[in-house]
Symmetry: C2
Subunit: 422 residues, 2 copies
């Protein structure tokens, strides 16, 4: 245990030192590192895939489910896609040092609000090894050092990728210790790291709800949380029903296993009879199971009664809960009660209803007449993202390079002092 | 204990309900409340001062120090100043609903990043009762409900002020439970409240370092921290020494008891002999005690040797630690090692030195050729502030109305869905 404490403290303190250097490194050096890493990943694909084969062999021996083994698997295509991802991050503007806001004060002081890195980020994730490269790319480009703690099933793959990353850092004249990998499989290491609030500025857990809850419970520093997405589509009385059907089908079916897919449909009672049977038919064609309130079950033969749990569920599957509501206020209240503050959409042609819904619904993204699937860094024009925050503090929704920075004030003067009576 | 748990949960849950209503209340209602409260504080000064006299009596009986009793004291002038403060907050623009950023996507979606309240804020503070009004004003104007937990010495004063505030909320057609006061003196109430991460979005402790550390240790929600200010003035080789003296004297002496006053002076060795004797004379005139390194003690007869503790100290008094450094890098390292990331200033006429210092020093404000005393909400043009954050996440430096909000994305479409291959 003493050894583990020392190991974690040493790791964090070396990351902190690297972060200081990285904070003032130029964008050109960071981009050169991204391009060099992309080339090295392609050039050294053989040894990376070999390490991955080692992990895959152990996973199969250990009897991991096929889906888990697939998540763990690297292929030449997946490595090429990861390398392309690195090159795309290189093309994004450097978020460090940009002026976010400014004012000239009456006494002549120029007050600049300037983007700066957060410092050291602890990133805890599950078995997909390509996430190692994505996370390192976003953190280093935003000037942060990162401590990577991947799943133990992926340790060989992550070690191989980490070696490539560190060598490229050296080649690009950046501190190699800006990207650290926790190599012990001891689960207590996470607990130790979560106490080091003096060295680590932010934790990002990426995985299931139980992982996130454990991290929140133990962390002595801020946590960027990405809880579940129980997203709603509300079809208002004034909806264009063709549009509503298109949006609903897209939100539910286009990629049902992701966090911004719709899990619940709310329908205004005045259009329920006109909308639900046709929507149900379109969803059935795509094998979606419906679980509804009494009114829904009357209008849609074959729908099964929904429970409280259904309304709170993130299915990540071809299932949809449905409720007929008397009006927009009841839709807003239902979302407040059961939703996860991730993404909600209203379909309406009524100006007042759209204004009310977007003002009252407290989610990271609220859409009018568009699919919930758009709540995504690329779709919002923010570039690659490290996750979609369901937090309010500090970043909400898609978290890309900008959300991995904070700011400081830089003030330019020519000798100003405060008056004696201020 | 059961009763206390219920009491705290009930308080928080009522604040949460009020926060929902407040989030969509108009700026006109919030400003009417501020003006009505200002009038009521003046009109009902008699009963407020009577409650305060009660607190003062008990404080004297309990043998509180004279300085503490003075902090507790309300006077007709202090109440008038508090009322004026409320009117000034009313004049600030409403931070809720403003568009922070926007983009039109190639598919026609309009993506708006919109300011929204944080929700429910727990504000823990020590004995100054006029802070009750300041904090309520900033939180309600930014659309947040607030739970006030003042010092037990100020309970009668705070209860009287809280009653005025709640009645004005009712008069302005805002939810009276948007401002709650913890009326039990039981210290365990704070511990109970700090667990309610589902109901309370942010804690702001305002007081000594031990209070803040306790809150950070126990809180299950983000904490806006305002640790000490160990602020530095670095006089570079290329400084205008007249300007350096003016800035140093102002930073140290203009109001020595505040967090943005200078506590430490760093001087480049090339100008130490020219600068230190004259600076010391100017500071001695204002009764400042100097504690310096060996070189300082050689140049300034009467300076006493500084210890490690001196370099880390926030004196809040007429004492200054002094160190002669071989160059700007050593100044930056000294600040990294001993500083509190609050406010630092460089005095220089060298462009490269100014660029390097502002880039490398990681403090909430870094000033070139201006006094540290300017790191303040009013001086930066942000209006009234609830504190100066030494945190990186989410707000740094002066925290006013904008820093008490977060954002959500509001997306306007006309039927957009994601492509099948996205």
């Amino acid at each position: 245990m003493q050894d583990l404490t020392e190991y974690c403290e040493d790791l964090a303190s070396r990351a902190r030192t690297a972060a200081r250097r990285l904070a003032t490194s130029s964008g050109a050096h960071k981009d050169r590192w991204l391009e060099e890493t992309a080339r090295a990943v392609e050039r050294r694909a053989g040894e990376i895939l070999e390490a991955n084969a080692d992990d895959l062999g152990r996973a199969q021996e250990a009897g991991l489910a096929a889906a888990q083994v697939d998540r763990l698997r690297l292929t030449p295509e997946r490595l090429r896609a990861a390398a392309d991802g690195l090159r795309q991050v290189a093309l994004l503007p450097d978020p460090v040092g940009r002026v976010l806001d400014s004012s000239v004060r009456p006494n002549g002081l120029l007050v600049l609000k300037v983007g700066v890195p957060l410092g050291v980020i602890l990133f805890i994730y599950e078995s997909r090894p390509n996430v190692t490269l994505d996370a390192a790319a976003l953190c280093v480009k935003s000037g942060n050092a990162i401590i990577l703690r991947g799943g133990k099933e992926a340790l060989h793959s992550n070690t191989a990728l980490h070696q490539v990353v560190q060598e490229s850092l050296q080649d690009a004249n950046l501190p190699p210790e800006a990207v650290q990998l926790v190599t012990t499989a001891d689960r207590a290491a996470v607990g130790q790291l979560l106490r080091l609030s003096g060295q680590i500025d932010l934790v990002i857990p990426r995985g299931g709800e139980s992982l996130i809850r454990r991290v929140v419970q133990e962390a002595r520093m801020p946590v960027l949380k990405h809880y579940k997405g129980n997203c709603h589509v509300y079809v208002d009385r004034a909806a264009d029903l063709d549009m509503a059907e298109r949006i609903l089908v897209n939100a539910k079916c286009q990629r049902p296993a992701v966090c911004n897919a719709a899990e619940s449909l709310l329908v205004h009672q005045d259009v329920a009879a006109a909308f639900l049977p046709r929507a149900a038919a379109a969803l059935r064609e795509r094998s979606v199971e419906l679980r509804g309130c009494e009114a829904t079950c009357r209008l849609v033969p074959g729908a099964v009664p929904a429970t409280e749990d259904d309304y709170a569920a993130e299915y990540l599957d071809l299932i949809l809960s449905v409720k007929v509501v008397p009006g927009i206020e009841e839709a807003i209240e239902h979302i407040e009660r059961y939703g996860s503050r991730h993404t909600e959409a209203i379909v309406t042609n009524d100006w007042t209803a759209a204004r009310r819904f977007t003002a009252a619904v407290d989610s990271s993204a609220v859409l009018v007449n568009a699919s919930t699937r758009f709540n995504d860094g690329y779709e919002f024009g923010l570039g690659a993202e490290i996750g979609i925050s369901t937090d309010k503090f500090h970043a909400r929704g898609p978290c890309g390079l900008l959300e991995l920075t904070t700011y400081k004030y830089v003030v330019h003067g020519d000798g100003q002092v405060r008056g004696e009576k201020d």
